[in-house]
Symmetry: C2
Subunit: 305 residues, 2 copies
Amino acid sequence: MSLLVIGSVAFDAIETPFGKTDKIVGGAASYISISSSFFYNSINLVAVIGDDFPKDFIIKLNQRGVDTKGLQIKEGEKSFFWSGKYHNDMNSRDTLVTELNVLGTFDPIIPDSYQNCEILMLGNLLPSVQSTVIERLTSRPKFIAMDTMNFWMDIAMEDLRKTMTMVDLLIINDEEARQLSGEYSLLKASRIIRNMGPKYLVIKKGEHGALLFHGNDLFFCPALPLEEVFDPTGAGDTFAGGFMGYLAKSGEISFRNMKKAVVYGSAMASFCVEKFGTERLLELSDEDVEERVKLFLTLSDMGFH
Amino acid sequence: MSLLVIGSVAFDAIETPFGKTDKIVGGAASYISISSSFFYNSINLVAVIGDDFPKDFIIKLNQRGVDTKGLQIKEGEKSFFWSGKYHNDMNSRDTLVTELNVLGTFDPIIPDSYQNCEILMLGNLLPSVQSTVIERLTSRPKFIAMDTMNFWMDIAMEDLRKTMTMVDLLIINDEEARQLSGEYSLLKASRIIRNMGPKYLVIKKGEHGALLFHGNDLFFCPALPLEEVFDPTGAGDTFAGGFMGYLAKSGEISFRNMKKAVVYGSAMASFCVEKFGTERLLELSDEDVEERVKLFLTLSDMGFH
């Protein structure tokens, strides 16, 4: 099933207790594309960058099977830039700089060859841009997933609610689920959120794993306990990429198959945090991924079989 | 395998966002005994109470297969009393009152008929009392588990370190593991703690599940997502009781079997928090427990089989 990815391709500058980076490549769609490319190599990317963005990263994406015809390059403009500093527990961070730049006027244009995509992943963006993408597709994809964040709940809730009615799966973290629903219990939150539109819901709990909800079905996947979380940036997007890549590869939209997709997404995310930015993802082999998935199976095997 | 349980049998007064109680029966050994009695009915209890303690609760314990010959009743004295108030997120609480009463001078006397026990569970108590119990057993049990808390790390670290060298399993929560080891990463903490004595380690993460460590083996069991956590008091002791009761019943001391014990412990704990104090545990049937364990299996089934 062809996979269309929309999101930011950007620069990040990151500081964690383990060190700091200058401007490095980041952005939701970068992580999603790289992560999904381990499972599937017909990925179409819609995003926008300035002419300051490194061409060799785009070539890397192409080599991994990511089509970048939909990647707009704005001459004389600058790419989106975010800078943040993580606290000692790695569970919270301060945003130091946000420069929207090209993202401020992003008009997502869908190349003709991207039409008829079967799976659509809407990375975290302005909800109105996300819904525009859906509206510009001549036929509705079989499966549409979206990410979002607290920021849009604060300033664009109406647009977010509209976009949520158009998708099949929402992927958010626990804090976002609590804000969106007004409920602390994630079970209660999941019902309220699924009444807003998406039939499927993934709630990511960072180091505490991830939950998948559909109807009365519930699945929990742990996060892999790690020696160190070096840099959490992009872990959520990497999860989404692994999840969607696995779905695209297997071609089966079902709860049972999405459970496996959660495991693959969690495995990819567990790599992402081991180094700064996309560095760890770009050095992985398929064997690394399969071995990591086996670790997840061992970790959660209750021994009853 | 016969199970010997040492710990507090006491009164609690609890306030949660859902309500508050007058003095109700609590204490580590009460929860451990009741929880383990679902799996095994040759449980020997060593504890101390005042003459203010309700006799009908002791009768209930006896009816569940708990031998109370080792339960000292101090005439004219009062039982241990703790009072606490939980905050809205249920993850933190304030202690309002602690009256040691009979626990202040507790001298654990082991009845002759309790000797030759095969499994020993040392509930949270002064570490020197825990080690005294081990020393008063004429033969070392096949398996010794202990609980402890931050308080003893603050005021009795030397005694705690000594007791830890005498046991096979330590059951503590994540906050305690971090304080005991000085490491935030639970993987790193687990190695440091196991170098202090216990070969096996369980780290309970409350609503985020529990980890079992032994050598290079690692197992994670999720907590059951719940609509509401009504009262978390005793959940950790109930976990320990289910764990030890299952071990005692099965008679097999192995990592594989302890994984199942963690699941049974987690299932019991998930009931405990549904009502105040021991109320929910006392109304459960064996079928309720087996059904709950099945929920855990479904929850964490990754769908690869």
